[in-house]
Each structure stands twice: as C-alpha cells, then as structure tokens.
C-alpha cells in the first residue's frame, strides 16, 4: 500500500512543497519589485508557468497502478497541539493540483490588460491564491487543510472586492461570510476528532475510525459528517446554498471567476470525496439519498434559472451550479463509474467553464457589459472569437469527443447503477444544458448586428488566442483520450470505495 513498495526519485518528497509554495515565493518577490506593470505581468506569468511545468512532474512520475497517497512528506510542525506538515496526493487530488497550475498562467494572460490599476497588488493576490488553492489539495493534516481552506478566502474576497465591478463589496462580503460561517462547522468537527484521536493527521484519524478506536464515535458520527458536509456543500455550492455564487461571479474580475469556478468550487466536491466518504462511509451511505436529491435539484434548477438569465456571466454561474450537481451526484453513487466520472467532471468543468469565463471577460473588456441583449450578430464581426466560444460551449454541453461528455456519461451511468430514477432525472440535464447555452449563443453571435458598436469590435488578439488555445486543446484531448486521466483517477477512487464495497457485499450477501 505505502511508500516502501515504490521506488521514489529524489524529487518526490519535496515536489509538492515546491509546487505549493513557489507561487507564494513569487508573490513575496513581487513585493520587492518596482511598480513597472509590464515587468510584473511577465514575472507572474513566468512564475505560474514554472509552477505548471513543475507540477507536471506529478502525473509523469505517478505510480498509476498503486493506490494510496504518493509524493508524501510528513514532518512534525507544532508539537502541541500535534500538528504535522503532511503533504501527499492521490490520483484525484493530483489532477486538481495540475488543474490549478494549468489555469493560473491563463488567468495571468487574461488579466494582462484588463487590470491596469494596482497591478502589483493584483498579481500578488493571484499568486497567494494559487498557493492556497494547491495547499488545499495536497494537505493531509486536517489542521493544515483547514488553514489552506480558509486562506483561500482572503485573496479571493480581495479580488472580488478590489477589482470587481458593480456591487463588488456586497458580493465579496457575501462570499466571505457565507463560506466562512459554514466552515466553522467543519472546524468544530475537526477539533472534536483531534480531542478524541490526539492527531490532526488524516490517515491516522481514518485508521482510528476504521478500527473503532474513537470513543463515542457512533453517537457523534452523524454530526461530524454534517459538520464537514455543510462546509463543503456551501463551497460546491449545492442547492440551496448557492446564491453567493452568481453574485460573486458577476462582480468578480475575469481571473477571479476563472479560479472561482475552475478550482475553488472543486474544493467542496474534493472535500466530500476525501473527508465525507473517507472518514464517515456509513454516514455517507445513510445520508446519500437526500444529498443526491439536492444534487438532482441543483442540476435541473440551476439549468432552469440559467435559461432565463439576461446576464451572460450569471448564466455561466448558474450553469456551474448545474454541472457541480453532476459531481455531487456522482460522488454519492458510491460506484466506480460515478466517482471516476465525478472527478472527471471536476476537471472538465474547470477547463471548459474556465474558458467560458475567459471568453465572457474578453467581451467585457470590449463592451463593459455582460448583458446578452447588448450583443447579437457577433459571429460576423468576431469570427475567431465566435469559433472559440462555440467550441467551448459544445464542450460544456457534453458533446462526445470533448471533455464534458466523458464525465457526464460516467456519472449518469453510475447514478443509474445506484438507483435508476436518479440516472433518469440526471439525464435530463443534457437537454437543459443544450437549451440554455445554445440559446445564449444564438442571441449573442447569430442574426444581424443590432448595436452599431458591435460592428467594429476587434477579434481576438494573439495574446487572447494564446490564453484560450490551451483550454480548447485540453478540452479536446480530455475527450479523445480520457484514459490518460482516468488511469490515475481510478485507483484512487477504488481506495475511496473500499469501505463501500464491504458495505455493498454485506447488503448483497456475498
């Protein structure tokens, strides 16, 4: 199971630390750089690109057939309370790390011109945010996890509050308060576990629970499950805890939206997979029915609300709620297909919705509005932009051979295996998504140009193309060769499902 069976190269123990903290180091260096905006942008780009290249070490050297955590580093950090600096990834979290490092340079590129005030602060915040996001996925010590978890709030709230538009302060405060209050419940659960186990270490706690060494666990388990769950459900966001998301997205700057939808939301679903399933399998199973119903409501409801939104960005935000419903649905099916699919949707949604937000941002830079009615006929004035947009829309509606399909297919088949009616209701999701996205596309790009300003809008410039191409290429490759991802995800999912298999076989009687 563990490290001893695997030959590790000498980079392995420190690679996660490097990937996590290089952006932060970059931010610290930025502090001391003079306020020359261009230099600051280039420097940030180099740092994020370097981090991305470095993070590719993870999938390249991952031992795919092997279950359990890899690239582990476990050092005592604070003796009392017993906090460890414990990092490690499995196939699921590794890809989320790579997703983060993949999107970060694109965020830098897309903010190149749109941010022209307090540029230095912006990129410092962005780099700090990257470190915090990666930290969430690599931390295996609950205290460390909670630290990174809350650490993402501050830079994101600053991004929205300082660089947003419209009701930016309202949105930033709402985002901050809503998700922080929910996280307090998780903190309580973590502290309860520490009090009983005497360690914040994920693996230690997991083993203690499995071996029945935690006093009073049966009575508290449901509350612990809910404590974690509420924090994650708000972050996902799961219906009905979602209303912070549209506001945050609409007011956030483009880079903020990309990271918010692309990565931040996945913290919630990742948390469910890692902690709700990993620590409390029995409770997860007992509570699955209502979680799945909420997820299904989210899929349909998010899509219906998205359909009638007059604001492009709000539409994409609600579509995220719908898509993340698929992820939660997949996780709580406790089937291999469901969990593999859920993880794949997380990645696919990060790429395609990230790209959608970048595209919306590009339009905002030109017209300073997201209102769909302000546009129409853009396919004539911005043909390349229109092609990119259509490509990403198709990826998002789950067209086969693009990335959205693989995940949705696996999630739905998992849901169908768990209980047919969930699969049937979930499958309506593929109809809704086609409805709201294609209708939006028609209103923005087709027909005749209705506003004179739109006639002379410049098409994509080279920088914007460079920012969009990687996302589009990733969407295609993930759809054509999903095996590259699934091969790493699957062993991790099997490990996560091990306790459920025992439960299942008990039920079936094998």
């Amino acid at each position: 199971m563990n490290l001893h069976s695997v030959e590790m190269d000498r980079w392995s123990p420190i690679i996660l630390t490097l990937v996590t903290f290089i952006p932060l180091a970059g931010a610290l260096l930025l502090l001391s750089l003079p306020r020359r905006d261009r230099d600051i942008r280039v420097f940030s780009l180099v740092v994020t690109l370097f981090t991305f290249v470095l993070s590719l070490h993870l999938p390249v050297h991952l031992h795919r057939a092997q279950a359990g955590f890899q690239y582990e580093l476990d050092r005592a950090w604070i003796p009392t309370p017993n906090i460890h600096y414990h990092l490690g990834v499995d196939g699921v979290s590794m890809w989320l790390v790579v997703l983060t490092t993949f999107l970060s340079p694109l965020c830098v590129l897309i903010s190149w011109n749109s941010i022209h005030e307090r540029v230095k602060e912006f990129f410092i915040i962005l780099l700090v945010l990257e470190t915090a996001l990666i930290g969430v996925f690599v931390a295996l010590d609950l205290f460390l996890f909670y630290f990174f978890w809350e650490a993402t709030l501050i830079p994101m709230a600053l991004l929205i509050g300082m660089y947003g538009h419209g009701r930016k302060v309202y949105a930033a405060v709402k985002f901050f308060m809503y998700t922080m209050i929910a996280s307090v419940f998780m903190l309580a659960a973590i502290l309860w576990l520490y009090a009983k186990v005497g360690s914040f270490d994920f693996v230690t706690i997991q083993n203690a629970i499995r071996n029945g060494q935690v006093a009073n666990f049966t009575g508290a388990a449901q509350w612990l499950f809910l404590g974690f769950f509420i924090a994650f459900a708000v972050k996902v966001p799961l219906f009905p805890f979602h209303t912070w998301l549209p506001d945050a997205h609409v007011e956030a700057p483009t880079a903020g939206s990309v990271l918010l939808a692309g990565v931040l939301l996945k913290m919630g679903t990742y948390g469910m997979l890692r902690f709700n399933l990993g620590l409390f399998p029995d409770q997860a199973r007992a509570n699955a029915w209502w979680v799945m119903i909420l997820a299904l409501i989210g899929i349909v409801y998010g899509a219906l609300v998205a359909l009638v939104q007059p604001n492009m960005k709000k539409l994409i935000a609600y579509s995220s709620i719908s898509h993340l419903g698929f992820v939660v649905l997949g996780i709580f099916t406790f089937t291999q297909a469901g969990l593999d699919g859920a993880t794949f949707v997380m990645l696919a949604h990060g790429v395609s919705t990230g790209a959608l937000f970048m595209l919306a941002g590009i339009l905002y830079e030109r017209r300073h509005t997201y209102e769909i009615l302000e546009f129409g006929g853009l396919a004539s004035s911005m043909p390349v932009y229109a092609s990119f947009f259509l490509f990403v829309v198709l990826a998002s509606v789950g067209l086969p051979l693009l990335n959205g399909f693989v995940g949705e297919f696996l999630v739905l088949s998992g849901a169908f295996q768990a209980r047919a009616i969930y699969g049937i209701l979930g499958a309506t999701g593929i109809i809704w998504s086609a409805g709201y996205l294609l209708w939006m596309y028609q209103r923005v790009f087709y027909g005749k140009i209705t506003h004179v300003v739109n006639e002379t809008l410049p098409d994509l410039d080279p920088r914007e193309r460079i920012a969009l191409l990687p996302a589009a290429a990733a969407a295609l490759v993930m759809g054509v060769a999903p095996l590259l991802w699934l091969n790493a995800i699957d062993p991790a999912v099997q490990t996560a499902l091990a306790p459920f298999a025992q439960l299942a076989s008990k039920v079936v009687g094998q």
Partner: protein, 709 residues
C-alpha cells in the same frame, strides 16, 4: 487485408479534411477547398468499397462473423478496473473502445453514405460556388461525414453515440449555416435540442443495457441476447429498447419528436439532401436494426414502433399534400418515408426496412438535389406557387426528378417500388388481425405520396409559368458539377431496387440475402414464437408466391397511378391563382393541414414557453422564470434576510449597549449620584467670593440668632 485492418481511416479521412478547413480554410482558394474536401470523401468511398470487398472474402472464410478492429481503449481503464454494477450486484468491466465493426449491415450503410456523400459533395461545389463561407460549409460537411461514419462503424453503443451526437452537431451547424437569418438559427437550435431529448433516451437505453448485460459492445450484446437466457417479453429489455427507440424518434424524426426536421430545411439544399434525407435521419433505423437481437425479445417495443412509424407516415404525408414550399413538401415526405422504415422494423422486417433506407437514400437525395437545382435556377425562389413550366428550361433537372418521383411513388421497375412493396407486404402478412390496419395506413400513405409528389412535379415543371418577370430571364440549367450527380443518382434511383428483386417476381433478392447473417437469427426467434410462418427476413422469401402478394402488388401500383391521375387532373394546367382541390372540398381540413396540425404552436405554448397563454409563460421558459424568481426572492431572500436580521440585531445590540447597559446600568447610577450630589456640590463651587458670602451670611446668621435670643 490492408483495407479492413485500416478501416478506421474511413472516418478519419473526412475528419482530416474538416481539421484542415478549421485551421487553414480561411486562407485557402475555393478550388483547394473543393479538392481537399471532395477528395477526402471520395477517398473514403473508394476505401470503403475496397474494405467491403475484402470483407466479403473475410465473411467467406468466417461465415456469419462480423469483422472487428479495436484501435484503442477510449473510455474505461487499461486495467479493466473500472466496473459497472450489474443488476445482480456483480461487476462487469466498463469499456468503450475506439473500435470498428464491419458486417453486412454496416457495409450497406457505409457504401451508400460514402457514395451519396461523394455525389453531394461534388454537387455542392456547384451549388455553393457563389456563397460566402465556402470553406466553412465544406468543413462542416466533412465533419458530418466523419461523425456519420463513426456512427456506422462503431463497435459499441458509446462510440455509436459519439457519431450520433456528432451528426446532430453538424446538422445544427449546417441548418444554421446562414447565421444572419433568425429563422435559420432558431431552426438549428430546435434541431439540436429536440435531438437531445432523443439522445437522453438513447443514453438511458445504454445504461439499462449495461446494467442488464454488463457490456456495451454490440457483438457481445447480440451474442448474449441470442443465447436463449432471456425470455421474450423481458420487461427490462422492453424498457431498454423503448428508450433506444426514443433516441431513434429524435434522430429519425418520428412522432412526437419530428418537429425539427421540416424546419431543418433552413439549411442549404445539399445539406437537406445529405443530412436530412439520405443519411443522418436514417441513423435511427440503423440503430434499431443494429439492436435487432434486443428488439425481437421485446414484442411490446416492436408494436409501439410499428404503430408510431405507420402513424407518422400517414400524418406527415397528409401535411405534405398541401405545402407550397418545394423543400417543405420533400421534408414531410422524408418524415413519412422514415415512418415506413419504422413500420418495417416494427413488424420484424428488418431487412425490408434497411432496403427502403437504401433505395430512399438515392431517390430522396435526388429529389432534394433536383429541388436545389430548381431553386438555383429560380434565383432562390422556393414557393411552388411562383414556379411552373420549367420542364423545357431545365430539362436534365426535370427528367432526373421525374425518375425519382416514379421511384418514390412506387411505380415499377423504379427503386422505391421494390422496397415499399416489400414493407407493405410484410405489414400485411406479419401478424394478421388488427395489424392489417398497419397495412391500410401504409397503403393510404402510398396513395398520398403519389399525389403530393406528382403535385410537386406538375406545379414545378408543368402548367403555366407563374414566376415574376425579374426571375424569368435568368432561369438556366445548372452547371455540370450539379447535373452529373443528378444523373448518377437517377441511374441509382432506377436500378437500386433491382438488388432486392423479390422471388415472387422471379428475382433472387440479393439484398436481403446479403443481410441474412445479421438478421437470420431473428427469423428463428420468430419461428420459435410460432408466428413465424409469415414473418420477416429473407429466407422465407420463397414462400412469397402467395397470390395475395400479387394482388397487393397490383393494388399498390394502382394507388401510385391514381395518385398520378389526381395530381394530373388538378395541376396539369395550373395557372396563376390555381385552385387546390382539398381547399375546394373542405377548407377547414385544408387550413389544418396547411398549418401542420398546429403542432409547432402547441409545443410553443406547452413545452418551450415561447408563446404565452393569456400573458403567462408555461413550459420550460415559464419554469425558468418561476425558478429565477424563487431564487432571487426566496432563497437569496432568506440569505439576505439572515444578513439583514444579523445587522438589525447588531443595531439593536449597539442601541442596547449604548442606552441600557452603558446608559441605564453604568451611566445611570452615575447620573443618579450626580443628581443626588448636586445639592452638596453647591456648597463646593470653588468660588472664593461665594465662600466669603456664605461666611458672611453665616456670620450674620449667628449674630442675628444670638442677638434675637
């Protein structure tokens, strides 16, 4: 075996063409675009011919065995670890390969799709010569060929679904090709979304199959279904096949999901010919025929399919009777003919259904291309009321279209006669009893078909010239690139049916014999069921020397001739303001038919919500409005209300703190003691004069006191 082993090149060639157009098309000359795209499809056709030729050799060595070639594992994992949970709780590996399957069924589709596809590509070089977005058009067309060939060659349902959705996408792109036109893009959205409803059914059908059989691979499922372990009428197989049929209804435009196909005529005419007549819309038929081993185990699904098919055939044909747009007539005709095909599948005559797909591909493509040639000649006019007397001005178009009309009307020895007659005979003989109704419906449809087709021909090519004077001088026959495909297709529309020349007329029905390995087992199942004597596939052809068959054959020829006669009588001399016989007889019926039974309107009220009922939106958009209101008022209202309550509480706390805690309890005693001490303070004012005054007063007081006492 080069061609068989590299069969994946067949879909890949047009994909390559599409990719070149996508990346470089904008900078290429029109001639280069044509060379690349037509070349890619033509090469695919040649490749397909060789592959099928090699397959016949392969089939000779391995009788009844389809050829399979797996390129790589697409979905699933290398280690076979990703599993499905089957119904009984056991696990089965979840695998969807990029794998290709060639058997007689896919061979037939492969040949006519690439063949007709090549012709239509050539035709398009003429038709689209003066249009903008030339490279875009050919790129989409090549992408379509890729998707369609993937659909045909996929060796599992998931890969079939890839092609299935891919053709849907290309249909969307090509219907909306003239994207400046609102009606075109709306039609494109309609096509995609209605198809998606069907796709959801297909997807669920797949899940049911995986859950029940533990596989999505076509050969494995067929093998299991034929193993005899499954009872006829198995409810889960019935559910799975019904779900698959929902998918087929979407793609092949059957009731109630047919609504997108007539609107799809917004696309350029070669697209209508290729996608919305000859190839894509037959994908549903293909999928059902592919799943024949499952469908025969589900008589309920078969009957549903037969009745929906028959009813769609009649329903669409009746609409076609009165339409004035030349392409709309053909569109409803396509829906109607697809209904025939499902009728055939539903009565177990899979081979007959496939045969009709095959002949229909030629004559319907020819009709659409001919209509395109007419529209081209008429400078874009599509309304038959403004045509007439074109037969001398565009003779090649006229004669080739007439051949196609003879074919679709079912006049021997043109292609449609053989396939349609086979279907009608199977409908008559399959079950007997009430199911003879299916034959009657089919027969009525045949009559209508003959009428509306000859109506189209007479209104377009004969009668008096009714076009405007601006258009008239520009009427010209189309260029060679367009007429040559017409002629080639006309030859096929005459002769394609001969492949299925029935035994009863002294032929050998090579078509059904070729398909025997795919469907033969079904005949055995039907025999086991006891109804077989009359049913299904090729091998019982020999029994068709039934006198009834000759009688019905004569009867349906009579229908075709009388349709011709009625149209001749009504439209032969049609001048300006000619009279529609149906309108003259029953104006109400005419209005209903002309408005297509108001189905689109009903859907807009009830399902989409594009039309309001008394100012209220229903349907999906109504739900969206309601959800959006609920979201911003109730859910977000609670959140904001929570926030506001907290702030109110904060304000109150602050007030409480200031006035009660600090004011009453802390400052209160202070104020009290200050008030109480006020009199005392008066004594201690700190003003020296005051002290002096008090001292003086006191002194005077003392003095006075003692003095008075």
């Amino acid at each position: 075996m080069f061609f068989l082993d590299h069969i994946w090149l067949i879909p890949l060639l047009p994909a390559l063409g599409a990719a070149i157009m996508f990346f470089f098309g904008r900078k290429l000359q029109k001639a280069t675009v044509s060379a690349v795209c037509v070349g890619a499809v033509a090469m695919a056709f040649v490749f397909a011919c060789f592959a099928v030729w090699q397959y016949t050799g392969y089939a000779h060595d391995n009788p009844g065995k389809p050829f399979e070639k797996i390129a790589y594992t697409w979905m699933g994992t290398d280690t076979d670890h990703m599993n499905y949970v089957k119904r009984d709780g056991t696990l089965a590996p979840c695998h969807a390969d990029a794998g290709f399957l060639l058997d007689p069924l896919s061979a037939i589709w492969l040949l006519f799709v690439t063949g007709v596809g090549t012709l239509i590509h050539i035709y398009s070089t003429g038709y689209m010569a003066h249009e903008g977005g030339y490279y875009r058009f050919f790129g989409y067309l090549n992408l379509f060929m890729f998707s369609m060939l993937t659909l045909i060659l996929g060796n599992n349902y998931v890969l079939m679904f890839v092609g299935w959705e891919g053709v849907g996408l290309c249909s969307y792109l090509l219907i909306g090709f003239y994207f400046h036109r609102q009606s075109a893009t709306t039609a494109a959205n309609k096509a995609f979304i209605v198809n998606r409803i069907g796709d959801a059914g297909f997807l669920l059908g797949m899940f049911t199959i995986a859950w029940y059989f533990g596989s999505l691979r076509l050969t494995e499922i067929t093998h299991m279904a034929r193993s005899g372990h499954f009872a006829i009428g198995d409810p889960i197989i019935t559910a799975a096949t019904l779900l698959l049929f929902v998918g087929a209804c979407g793609k092949s435009a059957q009731l109630p999901l047919y609504v997108w196909l007539p609107d799809a005529m917004e696309g350029p005419t070669p697209v209508s010919a290729l996608i919305h007549a000859a190839t894509m819309v037959t994908a549903g038929v293909y999928m059902v025929a592919r799943s024949n081993a499952l469908f025969v185990l589900a008589p309920g699904s078969m009957k549903t399919m037969a009745f929906i098919g028959a009813f769609t055939a009649l329903f669409a044909a009746s609409i076609a009777l009165v339409q004035n747009d030349i392409k709309r007539v053909l569109a409803y005709s396509t829906v109607s003919q697809l209904g025939y095909m499902f009728l055939a599948l539903g009565v177990g005559a899979f081979a007959a259904g496939a045969f009709h797909v095959f002949t229909h591909a030629f004559f319907k493509a020819l009709l659409f291309l001919g209509a395109g040639s007419v529209i081209h000649a008429m400078s874009g006019e599509q309304d038959m009321r403004n045509m007439g007397d074109l037969h001398r001005r565009i003779p090649i178009t006229h004669w080739t279209m007439f051949i196609a009309t003879f074919a679709i009307a079912g006049i021997p020895p043109f292609a449609g006669f053989f396939s349609k007659d086979e279907i009608l005979w199977q409908a008559w003989s399959s079950e007997g009893g009430a199911y003879r109704l299916l034959w009657l419906v089919g027969y009525g449809t045949a009559l209508m078909t003959a009428f509306y087709m000859f109506r189209l021909m007479f209104l377009t090519f004969h009668g008096q010239a009714r076009m405007s004077h601006e258009v008239e001088p520009h009427i010209h026959e189309s260029p060679k690139s367009m007429t040559v495909p017409l002629i080639v297709l006309a030859i096929c529309a005459v002769s394609a049916g001969w492949l299925g020349w029935p035994h009863s007329l002294g032929g050998s029905n090579r078509f059904e014999k070729f398909l025997e390995p795919v469907f033969a087992r079904e005949a055995e199942v039907f025999q086991a069921e006891g109804k077989a004597a009359q049913l299904a596939a090729g091998r019982k052809e020999e029994e068709h020397t039934n006198p009834m068959e000759y009688f019905l054959m004569a009867f349906s020829i009579a229908a075709a001739v009388s349709g011709f006669g009625m149209a001749w009588k009504a439209y032969r001399d049609a001048g300006k303001g000619y009279e529609e016989p149906i309108a003259a007889a029953t104006p109400q019926v005419y209005a209903v038919l002309l408005n297509k039974y108001y189905v689109d309107e009903a859907y807009d009220y009830a399902f989409t919500g594009r039309r309001k009922v008394k100012g209220v939106r229903l349907g999906v958009m109504g739900l969206g409005d309601a959800s959006s209101w609920f979201d911003s008022h109730v859910i977000d209202g609670i959140v904001n209300g929570w926030g506001r309550t907290t702030r109110l509480f904060g304000t109150f706390s602050s007030w409480w703190d200031k006035w009660i805690i600090d004011g009453l309890l802390v400052n209160g005693p202070a104020i009290l003691s200050r008030m109480l001490s006020y009199p005392l303070r008066l004594l201690q004012w700190g003003l020296v004069q005051w002290y002096a005054l008090v001292m003086v007063i006191g002194l005077v007081g003392f003095v006075f006191y003692y003095a008075v006492r």
